[in-house]
Symmetry: C2
Subunit: 337 residues, 2 copies
DNA sequence: CTGTTAGCGCATTCAC
DNA sequence: GTGAATGCGCTAACAG
């Protein structure tokens, strides 16, 4: 049966009051060494361990942080989560995980988490909270930090997507490409569409900077999976005047792009250059040229920000911007004339 | 500030007692429709939501399940966890995640989880609990299920590793290979070494079944990473009489194997056949022939077993054995003479 | 059907 | 320094 030793049992056995036991439990200095030792030994012999539930109610703190992730399936999200886990594990907090797989999940999830008062802090990954959620969080005064999404009200760690996309596109331009297409994420994605817009902007900026006209026909958008990317790339490559290079919103999609090229008998990078974004594990395996963002590190920093925030709730929201890095591998090459 | 509306406020505003409010909160049928409506509307207008902490203490239930995973880094573990998440999300339980990265973490973690009474149920993935942990769990009477590890005391979902390994090795034999090496996980791995032994047994059985003598020099073991596998494979391939085929404990290691073959200028599968185990995402990308185990499904079933177990704690431990499947892709071929 | 009361196990006053 | 009392917010048992 349950280990139902309570603080009262300990008090009785040690011949002290419950208050004293509680004090030694919380390292309250105003306990004499003698009684402290006595209590400690009784705790040990009774194999007592305080009930979290009671402690939580009494102190009004849950000693848990909530982490909300969209599409736990997504490799980049997993990587970020890893970073978060690594820092939360060093703290006293438990980690409660919430996965949101669709828009219905999301609406109300945050509100629900807040209202049930099950966490002392919230870490939101790659998900833009709705305005309703935001007011809910603010009213409840729950320390919150966001990783890979923007909101001025909260501490956040983001990456400069405009710059990263520019970097990718400029790499292609430097290789001599002028017919550069862009395969985007679906910007109607309800979760977090800022990166979608930003990367497109970066793409446009790079083209404009090089004086290359933007061709509407070289733009495609689709969901974050391989199949969709494969299909759209085929469209692109079967254009009368197909692009010679393609910048893809994510590595996951880039995998589908590579498949499409193979389907059509095109050699990458000789006939067709491809650059992705994220640098997930698979990118290395496939020798995919890509833009690396510090996925794991973003989680670590996010976790640290949250811990600080919970310690010092009065802190102003902080913004950390992570650098991107161009990783040249085997899917981009100079334009062959 | 905190939303400090309590059940008492609701009772006052609705002109009823707290007991009644509690009843409607818990869908207790013995409340008249009229008062139920009244209470409900007050709850709504006050934006009241019961405190989990109080509820937990009062009911002696946490409404949370703990999930313990080793090496959150490991792709196969992530996949299993996904399955677990998908079913827990459909329940009323929150999911508290614990990652164990080293042996020190593990010792005491389970005990700690149990003693703090923070979960109503426990799901352990790819980790064999120590005997101390087991007695702790049994004494505390916490419903527990294990995924990808054995223990007679608990419900578990496992895969027949002997059969899977036999299947892999037989595939190689059928292709005409006689010089078949095995690259194993490190069996001193303190977390869960049963699969290590079992797969080795399956390998041996297949060889014996075909009358192929076992060569000690064709056995290597190392950690679950690419680098180690790469190194050990090079050793194997530089033997005076190198193997023509290799069965690898995991897909992760198989990636390193492929790298080693490339390092040495060997063509896979023409010169050297490789078969992995797990069928993680990367296996498909690399066209790796492998043994698929239902990773995601194992998590789903594990989650379901746990939910059942919590509903009906008197249930006998159940064992579910999942089938493996040979997935032939591009890294195995007939022995070229 | 419904109001009242007594805990759940601990933290935290307040006196001594 | 330490014991006793009060309350955290809710559930459940007991009357009515």
């Amino acid at each position: 049966m349950k280990n139902s030793v309570t603080i009262r049992d300990v008090a009785k056995h040690a011949g002290v009051g419950v208050g004293t036991v509680s004090r030694v439990l919380n390292n309250n200095p105003s306990v004499s060494d003698l009684t402290r030792q006595k209590v400690l030994s009784v705790i040990d012999s009774l194999n007592f361990s305080p009930s979290q539930a009671a402690r939580r109610l009494s102190r009004g703190k849950t000693m848990a942080v909530g982490v909300v992730v969209p599409f736990f399936t997504n490799p980049s999200v997993v990587k970020r989560l890893q970073g978060v886990i690594s820092v939360i594990a060093t703290s006293q907090y438990d980690l409660v995980l919430f996965d949101v797989e669709n828009a219905e999940d999301r609406d109300g999830l945050l509100k629900n988490i807040i209202q049930r008062e099950i966490v002392d802090g919230l870490l939101i990954i790659s998900l833009k909270p709705s305005e309703n959620d935001v007011t809910e969080i603010v009213e409840a005064n729950v320390p919150t930090v966001i990783v890979d999404a923007e909101h001025p009200g909260f501490s956040r760690v983001i990456v400069d997507n405009v710059a990263g996309a520019r970097q990718a596109t400029e790499h292609l331009i430097q290789l001599g490409h002028h017919q550069i297409a862009y395969l985007n994420d679906d910007p109607t994605n309800p979760f977090n569409n800022a990166p979608t817009h930003d990367r497109y902007q970066g793409y446009l900026q790079a083209l404009e900077g090089a004086g290359i006209p933007v061709r509407a026909g070289y733009y495609r958008q689709g969901t974050l999976d391989r199949e969709s990317a494969r299909h759209l790339t085929r469209e692109l490559l079967q254009l009368p005047d197909p692009p010679t290079a393609l910048f893809v919103y994510s590595d996951t999609q880039a995998i589908g792009v590579l498949e499409a090229a193979r389907d059509l008998g095109l050699n990458v990078p000789e006939d067709f250059s491809v650059i992705g974004y994220d640098d997930i594990e698979a990118a290395k395996l496939l020798h995919l040229t890509t833009i690396r963002q510090s996925l794991y590190e973003s989680g670590v920093i996010g976790g640290q920000l949250l811990l600080e925030q919970m310690l010092e709730p009065s802190l102003e929201p902080d913004e950390v911007v992570l650098e991107t890095e161009l990783i040249v591998r085997g899917t981009t090459a100079p334009l062959s004339s």
